[in-house]
Amino acid sequence: MEIIKTDGLTKSYGKTVAVDNISIHVNKGEIYGFLGLNGAGKTTLIRTLLGMIKPDGGSVTLFGKELNSNFNQWNHIGYLVEAPYAYPNLSVYENLKVFYKLRQLTELTEIDSIIECLKLTKYRNTKANALSFGNQQRLGLAKALIHKPKLLILDEPINGLDPEGIVEVRELLIDLAKNGSTIFLSSHILGEISKLVNRIAIIHEGKLIKELTTKELSSQISKKILVQTADNQKAIQILLNANYSASLTYTNEIEVTNKEVFEHSEVISKVLTENEFPPKQIYLFTEDLENYFLRTIKENKQ
């Protein structure tokens, strides 16, 4: 079942097209990661999904129902948009009580449960303005999760958290997805997103430039064998003569891009050693998500 569906979603501010004809769908139980540089249109898209911004064109469907003024599924949706602001003069408990009331919940114990779940018990009676940024982020997540939503829309949910907090939130989100919740999140911590999501979308200048599963992602991430010898120019010639695709990088390393040698780099070592240019160093380089992301954006520009 499609929990989120957008069809040709478009939003402009004057001449700037913030969201340009974006069509995506997110299935039940899926964790969907949304990547983009600052100003790419991520937050505009998230606000449009939450009905805070009205699109100029296209439509949003949540839980199979079109998002319009009659939409009434908000208690199935939890969200955290941009920085996690809270009422500064209220304690963690009071801040959550405000949303307990506005979400029309009936069990007061739900407030303490979510406080415990997000490890905020120690700060239950601490005013929000005295919390660290990481704990404010936890409070923001607590507001988003207090009503056990079926869909979570999170903008930078691990921003400001310490490494322990990142792991806790990651595990929490994975648990929620396992229990059937659908999660739509944006983050600039790309390595972290790759550990979480089932599918990734890349947005640039308002346009969706790539959408792929994590399996597709791993196949698209570039790999190469990098080699260093006593004379790289001569070594390249030897590899070219042996029908390998070899070239010199700007860091003065030889890169070999033949897929068949990725799992058998010893073949390259053997060829070079037999021709008296034994490798001083040889290793398999795997592109990280940051590089993949930047490369994708660069390719899109070209």
């Binding site: 606000r47 939450l50 805070m52 208690n75 948009v81 941009e82 009422y87 209220l90 949303f99 029309q104």
Partner: protein
């Protein structure tokens, strides 16, 4: 109805620990305290004979040491000062969501946006009513302590009637400020609007057109403009009422339909 009540309870939680709540009560209580000082001076013949600047001002106001004079001062404070203070209250209730960065948290909830705005308006009315009631209580305590002569019930009822009608008119005049708080996304725009209305209400009332300017009408009704009160007509009250209605509609329509990017 339950949704509306819950939204109001949420608003009450938000103001419970707010220092601004008590600050408004303390600021407004200056009026009955000052009135008490007037009474003390008027009751002291020696002080009045010295004809100090303060005593002269009190004489110019035709202030007497009785409940009528005292409660009239309170009414005038509501009609003139209330435009400022109630405007400040409205600015804070509506503008704080943007200043605190919490406006976005109120937009995609099972409690409708209209009910959230309504809850804020109800809180605004209750807050203003509590302010005028607290001033009455302070005045009652001070007046009794200063042995003001007792007043007959019908005169008291008439004065209190004027006091609460002035309050209602001032509350209505403050409604459009909510729109400026939402439109300006913070305190600056509504407070600037309040300052402007205060200046214009004085100037326009002074040149004799106050009965057509919504923010002058509460002051004129309270008697702060002396004989200008007689200029008020049904038309004046209709203008004020329409201002309140337009202010309310502009606020709710804006909150429901405008793009919320902050």
């Amino acid at each position: 109805m339950r949704q509306q009540l819950l939204a109001l309870q949420a608003e009450v939680i938000k103001i419970k620990s707010a220092k601004i709540l008590w600050a408004t009560f303390i600021a407004f209580a200056i009026v009955p305290v000052m009135g008490g000082v007037f009474i003390l001076v008027v009751q002291d013949n020696e002080a009045m004979e010295k004809a100090s600047g303060f005593a002269l001002k009190i004489k110019a106001m035709n202030f007497e040491a009785n409940w009528k004079s005292y409660l009239n001062v309170l009414s005038q404070a509501v009609g003139v000062g209330g435009v400022l203070l109630f405007g400040f209250v409205a600015s804070w209730i509506f503008g704080r969501e943007y200043s605190d960065g919490t406006a976005k948290d109120l937009l995609s909830l099972p409690t409708s946006r209209t009910k959230i705005v309504n809850a804020k308006f109800i809180l605004y009315v209750l807050w203003c009513l509590m302010l005028v009631l607290s001033n009455l209580v302070v005045a009652f305590i001070l007046g009794t302590t200063l042995h003001l002569p007792t007043m007959d019930t019908s005169s008291l009822t008439g004065i209190l009637n004027d006091y609460f009608i002035t309050t209602a008119l001032t509350i209505i005049a403050g409604v459009p400020i909510a729109f400026f708080a939402l439109y300006g996304k913070g305190y600056l725009a509504p407070l600037s609007f309040v300052a402007l209305t205060l200046v214009f209400s004085q100037v326009i009332a002074a040149i004799g057109y106050g009965s057509y300017f919504p923010w002058s009408i509460p002051g004129l009704y309270s008697g702060a403009g002396g004989e200008y009160k007689n200029l008020l007509s049904s038309f004046s009250y209709i203008i004020l009422l329409l201002t309140g209605i337009v202010g309310y509609l502009a606020t709710t329509i804006y909150w429901k339909n405008a793009d919320q990017t902050k």
